[in-house]
Subunit: 337 residues, 4 copies
């Protein structure tokens, strides 16, 4: 069985594993106050050209999302996101468990627009309704699409005009930045967002998300929130070491590109074979629509993620590549399609 | 600088690191639904002689504490613990952030008694006060002390009589079980508590706590809570693999004993040298009282955890051994004391 | 200025005011444990033919909603409601502030169907999503519509099959029950819902909602929740006295009918004059669509609630009657329409 | 049976009842936006000499406490109070249900000192512990004692130095201000506290607490919190009307003095008869220690609040006077003592 269902089926990139072995018996302070974390923070600030940014390392995406949102909002404030937002659909009400409503905006492709946000702010006025205070986007989105520099700039403008924080979930940021049609840089993102994170779990690490806070309003006491929500890793250096490796020698972008190129190859084959898509994109997640018969033929050999029924005889599935995908497996799949 | 300040200064036991390397490129399902987790669950159920227990793996102690408590209590219910309880003092209000009050009982040695719990239940009656529903203990405690089988049996009895859940925080369970004066087994604990966890972070693992639920009332939907509170590791197998190694060949108890024996050696030397203790115990944490002058002499070479001022010229510190402590470092410290 | 904008512009029915004066210097126990509350509970149980029901008195609707929901759900569970549900739109995230997500279903007329609920339950499965556990409906709804006995029976069936609690917000229950096309009785509601409340604030009382719990699972410790959420009135008898008066001599239904008949009269005049409606209904709230010119003419003399823009020259407004509406004011408005 | 157990056994002062009758059929906007509320706000600002203060009316004390605290604190922040604080002991964990820990300081008489607060701030440092941000005091306290101007000034100074908000629960503020040994004025309190409330429920009103916010940091969006926590009364004018009456012609202080003078009379008789007290004070709550035999004799005729057992044959009780206490009842009790 070859797993294409997600981008977290394996452990970590070999360079990370090597470094974990090398550093294993070092004695360091706990809770992210060691020199590996400090080094990784410096590398990330440099990559973002954001020398004043605060950088914090968290273990996972849901944890990062709920910690950032809980730290940023007062109890009567809400976060705006796409109806398909991970925080809305797949995190078991984690944001609501911290006391906050998520206002959702309709979206076909997982993205929301500056205009939608503006309209939402005009509608939500007065103390009988929640107060919008943050916009949550993901890039690449849950549907593998990405924001252009122009789109993100517009969102950023409307957020600043309405005193909203712009928060980007970057669980798959590498695969977004490495997409063939990408126009954003890490530096752009740091300049346009108030807080975002750089995903490690799905991009080469065993686990880990690097939260980058550029808006000074969001910086105070952030470590209290990490601890309170259960996200402060005792051996915090494990996170530092992994991001150190990922941001040395541009490894993060190299492995992201590797995955996206394999996806491009697969996408080309799918398109050539006449498949259509639930949503078109250029990142590591592909959402082809297949006949149930074809799916039945493939399922003994390959594992996909079932997305949804399209009609009586067709379904959409998700096929992911990652830093760990073997070229030979992609070729085998292309042959079988 | 030799760190004796805590028991989480290094990475993981070499056998764990080896296994992580070996399994690194395996493809497995996520979220703890892989066969390593299943294997580890079986090993733990066997070690506890609790074939019906549910076993869940979480990354850290605060996360385990808040997840168990949030899952067990209704909003008007509270947890009872020692005034020195980790959840009360050192978790940034994580339990309160989940909506629950902690009722504290005075304690000199970190332990609470069945009588204290009984009295508390008699005092807290009626809807103008919170309703006691859970007792939280740690073993070994924050002060390195342990519960005897008789003490735990009494606590268990009073809890069952008063419809309270008994929850043991076992972040340092190994060091408790390996203490020279211990009378408890894992099997006893599984029989007497409703839920407890076996700490890995401080006992050989990179991270990880194995929550064991024996009371059927606490089992339903527990995975929802793990996900909602941000504790569901995408690559859950990392937890499974580590506990698999720890519970094969009795490694967990072997390395716990190793640390406790080093602590015994150090304790003997301290006692012989005339030091007294903040609290006496037989586990891997030692709390000697030292003159500030002596502390000053040692501080260039050794790192201890400062506990508190005792008088104008003396302080209590914490010295920890662990699975990773080198015998030569203990001998050097003994010489310097 | 004559206020038709809502049904809570005045104080209380004169019989209630008289009784408050008569009983003012009685000495009673606090917190709803007095004999007026006990008497009112008995009258309500009798009116509902629900001798085993628990009845609790709360001050207001948002308070009643959040207290019932907080008491009924575990943290990972959610409540399902119409997109127009008061708890979703107009309570400042009160339910989310208690930790729970609201799943919304599209609705044109403020009502939801058994089929929608069934579909929602099929979609929300597994620990990465919230778990549906309660259905919230209002009757009459925020748009003045009502559920038929058949519709409520279907909803009740689907809830019981899926282990969901059915909760009816009855802030305007009287006006629903008195509608000319109503087919439900209080007894039906008590039999089909697990918990509901009988609104007093909008139906003759100064304030007060009577929560009726028929499902034994929802009864334990409910008073703890009232106290914890700030809803326990020290002089609880004020609630008991008011509901005593409302449920003696059928006053509650008499004044509800009075308001609905005035609304019928107004509605007949509006229809005769050619107005259409945002939503059609037979209760005390009317939602006519008017030209902005007409609205401009009326606004010096009458106060309506602006609902929403319909097109460039028309808007929908809400006109309410109540127990306190004067017949002469309705006639004046009819003349001016 | 004559009730001396508490100060909320009756309805409201006759002037309030009269005004409620007079205004009953007025049509006003809801939610506290009517002219009675505005008038009452002006009267209170004038009484406090705090023209810039925000004044909000809430129904009850627990509601006021939880709303103020939820609005003031970020999730990792806590409130400091006496171990006997009402929010800690008698509000069913309402503050924790909003997510915040209460740090308690030992107190014999219900009061806390500036030094205790200072020490607490020094102890609670760093992200593994909650962050102190508010001090909660009550005046008069749960034990009937009051703060002197000097004591409150010292507390205020230490709070400002440590960036803590000073919050006074004034559920019994009138009885504190009218005490024979009081040195504080409303103006002092407004100047020294950041937020406080003037209790109506126990001082002449049917219900109602007037929250006065003087610190500009605490003003923004406060009405959102009132609504979200279920405290926004639809017919908000009921609160405005009551405080209008209480603050016209100095009624609030007149009725408070009346109650305190009756308590003084009772206290003098108790002292003369040789009774000692759990705590000495000069307000409307008296805590005499009585033999159980004497208590047994009195209990058929009088209702007291049982406080606690003192020794095998004696108990402490609470005897309250209020604006509604009849002089003849006090005289009867004096005779029977």
């Amino acid at each position: 069985m070859i797993r294409f269902n997600c981008d977290y089926s394996e452990g970590a990139h070999e360079k990370i594993m090597e470094r974990l072995i090398q550093t294993n018996m070092e004695q360091t302070p706990g809770y992210g106050e060691d020199y590996h974390c400090e080094k990784a923070r410096e590398l990330i600030r440099a990559a973002c050209n954001a020398p004043e940014a605060d950088v914090h390392f968290l273990v996972g995406g849901t944890q990062a999302n709920l910690t950032v949102i809980a730290a940023a909002l007062r109890p009567h404030q809400c976060v705006i996101g796409a109806a398909s937002a991970h925080i809305h659909v797949h995190e078991t009400g984690a944001v609501e468990a911290c006391g906050h409503k998520i206002l959702t905006l309709p979206s076909e492709d997982g993205k929301i627009t500056a205009k939608q946000v503006e309209d939402c702010c005009r509608e939500y006025v007065g103390e009988h309704m929640v107060q919008p205070k943050m916009v949550y986007i993901s890039n690449s989105t849950e549907l593998g699409t990405i924001y252009s520099k122009e789109e993100l700039s517009e969102l950023s403008k409307v957020c600043r005009r309405n005193h909203l924080y712009l928060f980007m979930d970057g669980a798959r940021l590498g695969y977004g930045l490495a997409a063939s049609d990408n126009t954003l840089s890490l530096e752009d993102i740091a300049a346009l967002c108030d807080v975002f994170y750089i995903g490690g779990t799905k991009v080469g690490a065993l686990f880990g998300e690097a939260v980058v806070i550029t808006n000074p309003e969001l910086k105070p006491d952030f470590r209290y929130f990490i601890k309170q929500r259960g996200g402060m890793l005792a051996k915090g250096r494990l996170l530092g070491i992994q991001f150190e490796v990922l941001f040395e020698d541009n490894l993060y972008m190299k492995i992201s590109s590797y995955a996206d190129r394999l996806a491009d190859k697969l996408r080309a084959a799918l398109t050539a074979a006449g498949y259509s898509y639930l949503v078109e994109n250029q990142t590591n997640q592909i959402f082809p629509i297949m006949s149930d018969e074809k799916l039945g033929q493939l399922q003994d050999k390959y594992c996909f993620n079932y997305e949804r029924r399209i009609d009586e005889t067709h379904s959409a599935v998700r096929i992911c590549t990652s830093w760990a995908t073997k070229e030979e497996d992609v070729e085998a799949l292309i042959k079988d399609l």
